[in-house]
Structure formats: C-alpha cells, structure tokens
C-alpha cells in the first residue's frame, strides 16, 4: 500500500482539467479540419486561429527562449554526443512512451495497432537494450505512434482554436488538452524512480534530444519562410493529418481542385 501511495501522478487535478478542456474544444467552435478538403482547410485554419495576435506573441517568446536557452544547450549536446547515440536515445524515449501509444491505440479501437505496440515494447525493451535499438521495426513491427489529440479526433471532437503554447509550441485546444491526458500514461509523469531527480534528468534529456533532431531545420524554416508563424501553423495542421507510412498508392482524393487557379487566363 505504501508502495502504491508513492506511485502517484505529479498533478492529478491537471488531468481532470485537461479532460474538461477536450470536451470544451467541441463546444468552442472551429471546424473539424480532417473532414474537409485542403482547399477549404486553409480558410478554416485562419478562421480557427481566433487568438492570432496572442499566439504570435507567444511564438516570439518561444523563439527568444529557444535561442537563448534550449538551442545553445542542444548545440553543445549535438556537438559532443554522436548521431547514433542521439538516435538511440530517441528510440529509448519512444519506447518509454509505449504505454501512452498503447492506451490511445485501444481508445481508438485499433486492436491490431495495440497488439503491434505491445510486441514492439516487449522486443525493444529486451532484445533492443531497453529500447535504444528499434529491433522491432526491423522485424516488421512498425511504430504505431499516436496521442490523445488524435484519439479525440477519432471520437469526432474538433480541434477547437489554434494555440501557440509557451515552450510546447503549436497546438490546438483539443491537442493541448491531449498532452495532459497522455501524461496519465507517461511513466515519466510518475514518481516511480527514486531519487526523483533522475526523472527530471530523463525529462530534460528527452527535451534536448528531441530538439537536437530539429537542429538546423527550424532555423532554416525561419530563414526561408515569408511568415514563419503562418508556416509553423500550416506545418502543424498538415503533420496532424498526414498519412503515417510511405506508400506506393498515394492518397490523391483529398488534393484540392486547382483548375480555378490559372495565371494564363
């Protein structure tokens, strides 16, 4: 009992609040972008960015914080930690998130995906040295990555307003609430390791390792985009709707009709 008492979420009230927000996102307005064509999507994305001035402000704050804190640490980290080790760390953190993926596979009713996630976790945690090597992928068990934002989407809950979150970056009311719900299943959210500072070190390492993956790419986007904020918003919504795996049969049914766009007329 004493052992169970120790294993408790860091902020239980936050999860209840997050669930309320998910339900609220269905009431606040903003279309369900997944159900429309990309031509209409662009218009809808602008319409659901009701907090644009505030979001742009947070975006600038995030760039400032990233440039002065996260990016210097990440640059130093990427300089001393070789790429294969960073990839291994990425695999380790992905493996650690398996309970989150499994819970969402099940909540979406994707039993086959849930089976693969379980097999991946068992293979990678043992043969894959605690997940540092993604052996399961090589053995034909590809990642079934998903989150509670997507789960809520499959339940028909729309995105709600677009949000630029401090430190977390682009999101929507639904997906932001999902971050907190996913934390219920995230082992790093529980006091399961003693001393607790090990958890903080792991959490910090995960942030820096993830940022290292995008080192150079984020800067390149800022340099080459005419409006970086609008680009990040577009990338966010496109990435939330993309197909998961490379395919020989492209999904062409949701392509916009471009016949009306013609400069030669």
């Amino acid at each position: 009992m004493a052992m169970l008492a120790k294993i408790r979420p860091k902020a239980p009230n936050l999860y209840i609040f997050a669930l309320l927000l998910v339900m609220l996102s269905g009431c606040v307005g903003g279309g369900n972008i997944e159900t429309t064509s990309p031509a209409e999507r662009e218009q809808q994305i602008e319409e659901i960015d009701v907090f644009e001035p505030f979001n742009r402000y947070i975006f600038e704050v995030n760039i400032f914080l990233d440039s002065f804190f996260l990016k210097p640490i990440t640059t130093w980290y990427a300089g001393i930690v070789p790429s294969p080790v960073r990839r291994g760390a990425g695999n380790f953190f992905s493996n650690l998130k398996s309970p989150v993926v499994l819970a969402n596979n099940l909540l979406q009713g994707e039993t086959e995906a849930a089976k693969i996630t379980t097999q991946r976790f068992m293979i990678n945690s043992s043969v894959g040295a605690l997940g540092f090597f993604d052996i399961a992928d090589r053995w034909g068990y590809p990642s079934q990555k998903t989150d509670f934002g997507q789960t809520a989407g499959t339940w028909g809950i729309p995105h709600g307003p677009f949000l630029m979150l401090p430190l977390f970056g682009p999101s929507s009311l639904r997906d932001a609430s999902g971050i907190a719900v996913d934390a219920i299943f995230d082992p790093l959210s529980y006091n399961i390791i003693d001393p607790q500072r090990v958890l903080y070190i792991l959490s910090g390492w995960r942030v820096v390792n993830n940022r290292a993956y995008f080192l150079g790419r984020i800067e390149e986007l800022y340099q080459t985009s005419i409006d970086p904020y609008a680009s990040v918003r577009s990338l966010y919504f496109q990435s939330r709707m993309k197909t998961k795996k490379p395919s020989t049969e492209p999904d062409i049914d949701d392509l916009p009709d471009i016949d009306e766009y013609d400069f030669s007329q």
Binding site: D227, S231, Q238, I258, F263
Partner: protein
C-alpha cells in the same frame, strides 16, 4: 427487323467486347502515362542532384543552373495563382508581372538552401497514381535520411501542360515531404502576409523582396 435470340446474344457479346477493348486501351494508356511521369521524376532527381552536388561549379553558376531547372520544370501557370489563395484575382497586370519575377527568384533561393542538405540522400521512385484522366499524376517515392531508420515519404504532384507545338509535358505543381505539401505551406505564408496588411498585394511583393535580399546577404557571407 426482328432480332432473334441468337442475334441479341451476339450483339451483347459485341458490345461487351468493344467496351473491354476501350477499357483496356484507356488502362494501358494511363499506365503508359504514369510510367512516363515516373521516368520524368527520376530525370528530375538526377538533374537536381547533379546541380546541387557538383563541386566543380561556382555558387553563382549553381544558382543560375538551379533557376533554369525550376523555370523548365515548375508549373508557373497554376502554382503562382494557387499560392495567393483567395487573393489570386486581386493583383493588377503590373503587380502580377512583378510577382512572377520575384517568385522565381524567391523559389530559387529558398529551395537551393532547403534541398542542398538532401543532395546526398538516396531518393527512390516507388509508384504513381493519376486523376482527372491522367492530366494530374502523383508520383510517390521515398528519401532515406542518414539519421533515420525508416525512409520518409516523398511525393511529386505533376500536371500535364500542352506546349506550343501541341505536345504535352509534365510540370511539378507541388512536392510532399513526409506528409507536408510545400506549396500549401508557402501559400499559408503568402495569404497571411496579404491578409495582415489589409489585403495589400504590394505588401506581399515587399516581403518577397525583403526575403530575397536577406537570403542574398546570408549567401554572400
């Protein structure tokens, strides 16, 4: 004239045969078009890699070669209008001419920066699918990045255009990298700039000029 049962059966068989031949011809033609589209993309990749990774040419030469490559292969009829979204009909002829020139230079500079880092990565064409009777073909492929176990998906959306001599050529309308359509991302920025400047098209031209200048000065350093 009265049709006997045997005649009706022969007529039905004849109609079925003609329909099967026509269907077969359409399918064969579509497959041939798709194969041409796939070969076209393979050619594009080879040329782009040659331009981006040639160590014997100067940066200036590379930029000119890349600009010509884009001018020959990117659809400049529909893409520039698509990038403007709901503002596609707002520019005057003069603004339109300015916009087309600036857009070509803007695309050359940004895609030269964006694509250079992928010049050494293995790109493979894996298939294709057409729509609108083959007037549009999406060619699929993959790119294997060195820091990833699995390849990323890479798709090319091609449009068939009639040339002055009556023949049809493919042009690239958009490219999708790992599920992200690049033209749609650019469109988001263009539309946002015009909208946030009370619908002013000149604001977009100004932003394009600024972006080109900033890329030029970064390149010069």
């Amino acid at each position: 004239m009265r049709y006997t049962h045997a005649m009706k059966r022969k007529l039905r068989a004849g109609v079925f045969l003609v329909a099967a031949v026509v269907f077969g011809l359409v399918v064969t033609q579509t497959r041939a078009e798709n194969a041409i589209a796939e070969r076209y993309v393979e050619g594009l990749i080879a040329t782009a890699v040659e331009i981006l990774s040639d160590t014997n040419i100067s940066d200036e030469h590379r930029q000119t070669a890349f600009q010509n490559f884009l001018a020959d292969n990117v659809d400049m009829r529909r893409l520039p209008a698509f990038l403007l979204g709901q503002y596609a009909r707002t520019p005057t002829d003069e603004q339109k001419a300015d916009y087309l020139n600036l857009l070509q230079e803007f695309m050359t500079r940004i895609y030269l920066v964006r694509l250079q880092q992928y010049a050494d990565d293995a790109i493979t064409v894996t298939g294709s699918r057409d729509r609108k009777n083959g007037r549009e073909v999406v060619v699929t492929g993959t790119i294997q990045l060195p820091n990833r176990a699995q390849p990323l998906s890479l798709d090319w959306w091609l449009l068939q255009q009639e040339q002055d001599d009556g023949t049809f050529d493919f042009h690239v309308f958009d490219v999708r990298v790992a599920g992200i359509w690049l033209a749609q991302e650019q469109r988001s920025g263009f539309v946002s700039v015009i909208r946030n400047n009370q619908g002013s098209f000149d604001a977009l031209l100004q932003h394009l000029r600024k972006q080109i200048d900033s890329q030029a000065s970064a390149h010069a350093q």
